[in-house]
């Protein structure tokens, strides 16, 4: 039986981890991919949505846009020492505007496992499936 959409998952890649988001729209797939990224570091369910951060990116194509989006989140998490647990994305063409909610890292409560260094172009793909669902994925370097 097909999984209820939207959802996110990780896929295996040697030393690192692949993140994949599946949604009814492109924007929803990007939101789910961001949740998959957040879950590499800590369980998003443990992260309270106390602070909102706005993110905007633009890229030559939607695949680079996905990498840019995830890298923007890596940057914001590191500079702000924050974790994110919720995302709202809108995409027009190859331009993205988003809001991410989260809170400051609390090692005791979030028990973060590992930092993400960056999103890579390995197995980078953004595509619409025959059934209309969108998939957005890539491998992240940890």
């Amino acid at each position: 039986m097909a999984r209820p959409v939207p959802y996110w998952e990780h896929f295996e890649h040697g030393a690192d981890i692949g993140v994949r988001g599946v949604g009814r729209t492109l924007a929803q797939a990007f939101e789910q991919a961001a949740l998959a990224l957040a879950a590499v570091i800590a369980d998003p369910a443990t992260v309270a949505a106390t602070t909102a951060v706005d993110v905007a990116c633009e890229a030559p194509d939607v695949e680079l846009l996905l990498a840019d989006w995830l890298n923007a989140l890596v940057y914001e998490m590191q500079v702000r020492k924050m974790l994110f647990g919720r995302f709202e994305v809108s995409i027009e063409g190859t331009r993205l505007a988003a809001r991410a909610w989260g809170e400051a890292v609390d090692v005791a409560r979030h028990r973060p496992a590992v930092e993400v260094k960056g999103a890579t172009y390995t197995r980078l793909a953004v595509r619409q499936l025959d059934d209309g669902r969108w998939v957005a994925q890539c491998v992240v370097d940890v």
Partner: protein, 481 residues
Amino acid sequence: MDTSKLVRRSENEWVIEPDSDPRAQGMRVPGVIFATETLVREMDEKVYEQVANVAKLPGIVAASYAMPDAHWGYGFPIGGVAAFDPEAGGVVSAGGVGFDISCGVRCLHTQLKSADIESCKTLLADALYARIPAGVGSTGAIRLSPSEMDSMLAGGARWAVDRGWGSAEDLERIEERGCMAGARPEAVSEHAKKRQRDEMGTLGSGNHYLEVQRVAEVFDERIARAFGLAVDDVVVSIHCGSRGLGHQIGTEFLRSMAVEAKAHGIALPDRELACAPLASATGQNYLGAMRAAINCALANRQILTHLTRQVFADILPAARLPLLYDVSHNTCKVEEHVVDGRKRTLYVHRKGATRAFGPGHPDLPAALREVGQPVLIGGSMGTCSYVLAGVASPAERAFASACHGAGRSMSRHEATRRWHGRQIVDELAHRGVLIRSPSMRGVAEEAPGAYKDVTAVVDAADAAGLARKVARLDPIICIKG
């Protein structure tokens, strides 16, 4: 990897001939994998593809090499070595260096024997863990103003020593004498600098660590003596890199190189192979920024060394912690190498590979010149690490490069399915190895069983003539990020 697609040139040398397979179409030079038959069979088929793809890049010289610990990376394999000639249209690749620019290992003597620390092991472990910032969200005590940031990026470990975090003798024992020339702080973006603002003197996470180790076995007495290593000596090894600054530089230049490749007339077999001509603004800017990130990594390891020395001074005042050596295993460096009888200036990319200069190399400090460069190989948590030495230049292979570590054999998910962090910590404590980490999930993901056997990798490097085995280091305390 399917060995039927390879030509076995010698016991531990496997060659991908250009055009020998559809995946090998367009290779400008052969691919050469240094490994035992067991290791080469265990390698992912993707390593074949990546070694072949690197051989297709403009200006590559001699061969696209893979070390015995090679595994599937981004564009370039991890454990890959490739050199490019600017006079032959050569390129520089951000993916050929990796995200964690100048990630590396340094090893400190302590002038103590393992019996000397037995009674205060727990105290030492707790004090190191309290002093060394490790793990997600941790910050260092040092805040750099914009001008100090630029001084650090230009000066590397030399900057750190000038600030009082170490001595001039330390610099002798660091590649490039502790300061990478040609760094251009102005080529480093504000984003990258901002990521580094409070990250100086932090260990990071993942496979990064600080270990107190015991010399458990010596394989080459003469070289070990020159390195100052004897059985039962206590040493400290630090494995980490250029932190957020290097990651951001890698991310930004991977993107600009990928976007501009077409304009530079470069057809990329894979977007991750993104590169720019050495003779281009992007290529030159990357080199300037990447060298600044090398300095950041050298400064970072120097500050961590200073913190380590403070902890030892508090607990074991008799200890002195001179530096054995510091190596970086994610770099691109300008070096002279003899190729086909002719000396050429090449841009050597080592991604998950360690430079291994042999005896007599002019870049080595006088005390090490006779025996060759120390090559520091980090193991996985709780297993062991190795000290190797570079071999003489007539036998120089792969532009004087060797392996860098064990390499994972299992995904992080699989590791957390198999093990619990607490259980690993308890089992290792039972064997006398103290683990300190902020994250039990992190410990599970880094379980010793999730890595390849580092001994097999080092034995292969030794047998292939890449470097000579000198000593094995067993862990006593591990601070894990």
